[in-house]
């Protein structure tokens, strides 16, 4: 009576055949294509935006994005001294967002960040940024001291605290960044695939086709939800990078 739910294996969901260069280090598959588009689309938007005093159309979108990143991320997390890191934060925001948003764009239907590669690169960039900025602004010894030996702790406890601080600052931060983005997007992708597969299965199962509208409504709703998640994840990733930069700018 019940149609078997033929759920595709995970390899079919996230791994894509190469367009060219299969088997080499430059195998160009859908993920790489989305990465390229995540460069081309913002570039095109920024170049299309006219530089007029009264903004309209594309210029509104671009300036809105820049202003959002400046005000909500850089200024609220770092403050005025962080404005020189705006290019980095904005790049991270744009790259994450465009990597995410392809999750709901037809014919792509795949977030580039549901593969570990891009989140890992972004996390490494964030890690290198906050370590470099910390060393530059506090000096190597000062940075190590402020991040590994938090003040106000009894001397003996440093045996316990320092390894934990080392782990949380230098390993868990980038790991958390990468895994947060990756798992969010992978979960969203699997969620959409699940409801898509459910819709298809229900459409072919005659007695159960009656509940197809509910499943379909759920699919539409979740698509909207995933648009929101794409935006929030881009916001959170850039915000966390900014917060880490702020933490390494000054000794605490």
């Amino acid at each position: 009576m019940f149609a078997a739910l033929e759920f595709p294996s995970i390899e079919n969901l996230v791994e894509w055949p190469a367009f060219f260069g299969d088997g080499t280090f430059y195998a160009f598959n859908k993920i790489a294509l989305i990465s390229m588009l995540a460069v081309i689309i913002p570039t095109a938007l920024f170049l299309l935006a006219k530089k007029e005093m009264v903004p309209r159309g594309v210029q509104n979108i671009v300036e809105g994005t820049v202003e959002f990143v400046e005000k909500q991320v850089v200024l609220s997390a770092i403050g005025p001294e962080g404005l020189k890191y705006t290019p980095l934060i904005l790049t991270i925001f744009l790259f994450v967002f465009f990597g995410n948003i392809f999750e709901v764009i037809p014919t792509f239907q795949m977030p580039a960040n549901a593969r570990m590669a891009n989140p890992l690169i972004l996390a490494v960039v964030a890690w290198v940024s906050f370590v470099t900025i910390g060393i530059k602004s506090q000096g190597f010894a000062g940075f190590m001291k402020s991040s590994l030996f938090p003040p106000g702790v009894p001397k003996a406890l440093y045996i316990l605290v320092t390894p934990i601080e080392f782990l949380s600052t230098f390993l868990l931060r980038p790991f958390g960044l990468a895994v947060r983005l990756f798992a969010n997007m992978l979960a969203g992708h699997i969620l959409l695939v699940t409801f898509g597969v459910l819709c298809i299965t229900l459409a072919t199962a005659s007695p159960l086709a009656a509940i197809l509208p509910f499943s379909y409504a759920m699919l539409v709703g979740l698509t909207g939800f995933e648009v929101m998640v794409s935006l929030i994840q881009a916001f959170v990733f850039s915000l966390l990078t900014a917060v880490y930069i702020q933490l390494s700018l000054h000794a605490h």
Binding site: F28, A32, T43, R115, L120
Partner: protein, 186 residues
């Protein structure tokens, strides 16, 4: 727990034997080299573009607009304060004019008052002169009348007295008495 470990060991052995298993060790968690390669290229390109090509003009436009808005606001403020000072100028002038008008009115009123007083004074003088003239005339008339009346009164009085006393009374002797009497009765 024990059962699970046992089972897992079984499974591992099965995996080792594994012609049945299609596991290509394609772990969905681990990144693949080509994706890392293209992702890194993409990110580096986007960062370079944003930092050196894309962001500066947009930020410049926004800065220009902020400056423009600020200068416009400043200009509006200046214009407003200017208008305020002009308005106060106008009201100052108005007050001046009003004071002047009051002054002129006061002056006119004082002048009119003086005129009136002068005219009234002149009229009073004229009246006084006329009155004194008339009084003098009256006094003259009376004097004349008195002068006319005196001798006859004295004659009459002397006549009457001579009749009363049966003796002749000199009119010239009676004259001073008559005069005194007339003057006192006057």
């Amino acid at each position: 727990m024990l059962a699970q470990t046992l089972m897992l060991r079984l499974a591992e052995e099965g995996g080792e034997l594994g012609d049945h298993v299609v596991e290509e060790a394609a772990n969905p968690i681990l990144p693949t080299v080509p994706e890392l390669f293209w992702g890194a290229i993409a990110f580096a390109t986007l960062f370079a573009l944003v930092k050196f090509v894309l962001l500066p003009p947009v930020q410049k436009t926004m800065q220009d607009r902020a400056n423009l808005v600020r200068s416009d606001l400043d200009a509006a403020d200046a214009a407003r304060s200017q208008a305020g000072s002009a308005a106060s100028d106008v009201s100052d002038q108005l007050a001046d004019v009003r004071a002047e008008a009051t002054q002129i009115i006061d002056a006119a009123r004082a002048e009119a008052e003086a005129d009136r007083a002068r005219i009234i004074g002149a009229a009073e003088d004229e009246i006084a002169a006329a009155r004194s003239e008339a009084e003098a005339e009256i006094a003259g008339a009376r004097e004349a009348a008195m002068a006319g009346v005196g001798p006859s009164v004295a004659g009459l009085a002397a006549d009457a007295a001579s009749r009363v006393m049966n003796r002749t009374v000199d009119v010239s002797a009676a004259q001073p008495v008559v005069d005194r009497f007339l003057n006192s009765s006057n």
